[in-house]
Symmetry: D2
Subunit: 138 residues, 4 copies
């Protein structure tokens, strides 16, 4: 299958999930092993205490998983999230939020992924950790 | 602590999480044991195939958990989601999406909740199932 | 497919998972909608504080999920656990531990199950709550 | 607090969880950042198909998490598992099963850990991936 670029995947996700447009989701990097997605810091995403909200963090993680699946497999528009488990670890800082997704295991029927999320410039301290499963069309 | 009404909790969540405003989140019912939250069906939430998107489903589940915690404990604004696990079970129908949240276990330090999500009018078929933990201020 | 009885499923699980034999796993009830499994209280399962250990609880939950899948589908020996999420909610009492498993969603490729675990005689207070996915042979 | 050695932690876990004795659990390595635990391959742990059973895998992961918490904090016997999420990724090979646990986030109230499990000699292919939370005494 033809490889997809980060820009193509960003456009696909924004076209498919309107919430991705709302949070101004960016795909910064994409290859067969890793996707890096980002949500620019906006006042409108903020919750009390001045941090990015939980739903925004989950949306970003889900998009990053989808991106790494597309990066590995090419255009598989019918891939859908089957399971997502998130641990919120630290309050995000008032800066961009970055998500790095990797595929832990790819089988014919599903892709199990891991996502590490951190505040821009603070790679050492995770904001959240996600594992999730994308079901693939059989 | 003074009890909160469904309308008060709806206002609190919308003030605290701007994404809740975007998805027009409603709290239909609230008591000490259960919260029922709803996202009205809007074209803007749709993903390819005409269904409510995964991030919207997760946002609704998280809001319903927060609501039931507030319904039980009163105003605890510093409660934060520590863990959320979601299984996506069936494609939502193009109607309102409803979430019923209950507290499985309340301790001094946390509330573990369960959320059942279904398309309005289709209580028998779950769209998604969530368990999650809210950390409480000590 | 021929239906399986609780005794047949108990024998299948004990033959397949030696740890089930070690914990003296019982299947008390089985139908197409629900399986009830039980671990008799034994001193050897106890951890400090006199309660059933976490691994025993997880083993019981996994067995109860497998039982309800067999109860619905008949003999599907190649079904394997794909995901299991457990929240430990309360210390088990020094009595038998009971697990009630239900299928939340059955599709061609997987069964998503829920398990409620409680100490015998204390149905009102959950010891643990589990959701899990069994992958089915395609 | 005095540091604990791998041998001391192995003895603590075996004394506390009898199932750990049954599976001949070993702690191969322990420092403040990582614990490596191992279950020697035994016929008695095998399930149909000749692989280590799911309950054994979960027991090993839980023990590895406990070990890394003890490695970081010293003797905290009242630490208990609050949540464990496991994705089973590949059939274990008929060899020893190894678990590497790390702490993702340590706060006053809990430790969130990650465990990677693989068959001895096959670090590149994960058998299972676990995230879990240990609640700490306050």
């Amino acid at each position: 299958m033809a490889e997809l670029t980060a820009d193509q995947v960003q456009a696909l996700i924004r076209a498919g999930v309107p919430m991705a447009e709302d949070i101004d989701l960016r795909i910064d990097h994409l290859d067969a092993d890793k996707a890096v997605a980002r949500v620019p810091f906006h006042g409108k995403l903020v919750r009390p205490g001045g941090t990015v909200s939980g739903p925004t963090i989950m949306s970003l993680a889900d998009a990053a998983m989808y991106a790494v699946v597309l990066g590995r497999l090419g255009r598989v528009e019918m891939a859908v999230t089957a399971n997502l488990n998130i641990n919120f670890l630290a309050k995000p800082k008032p800066v961009d939020l970055v998500a790095e997704a990797r595929i832990l295991r790819l089988s014919r029927r599903q892709a199990v992924c891991e996502v590490q999320l951190y505040s821009q410039g603070g790679e050492g301290e995770l904001v959240a950790h996600v594992t999730g499963t994308y079901a693939l069309p059989l």
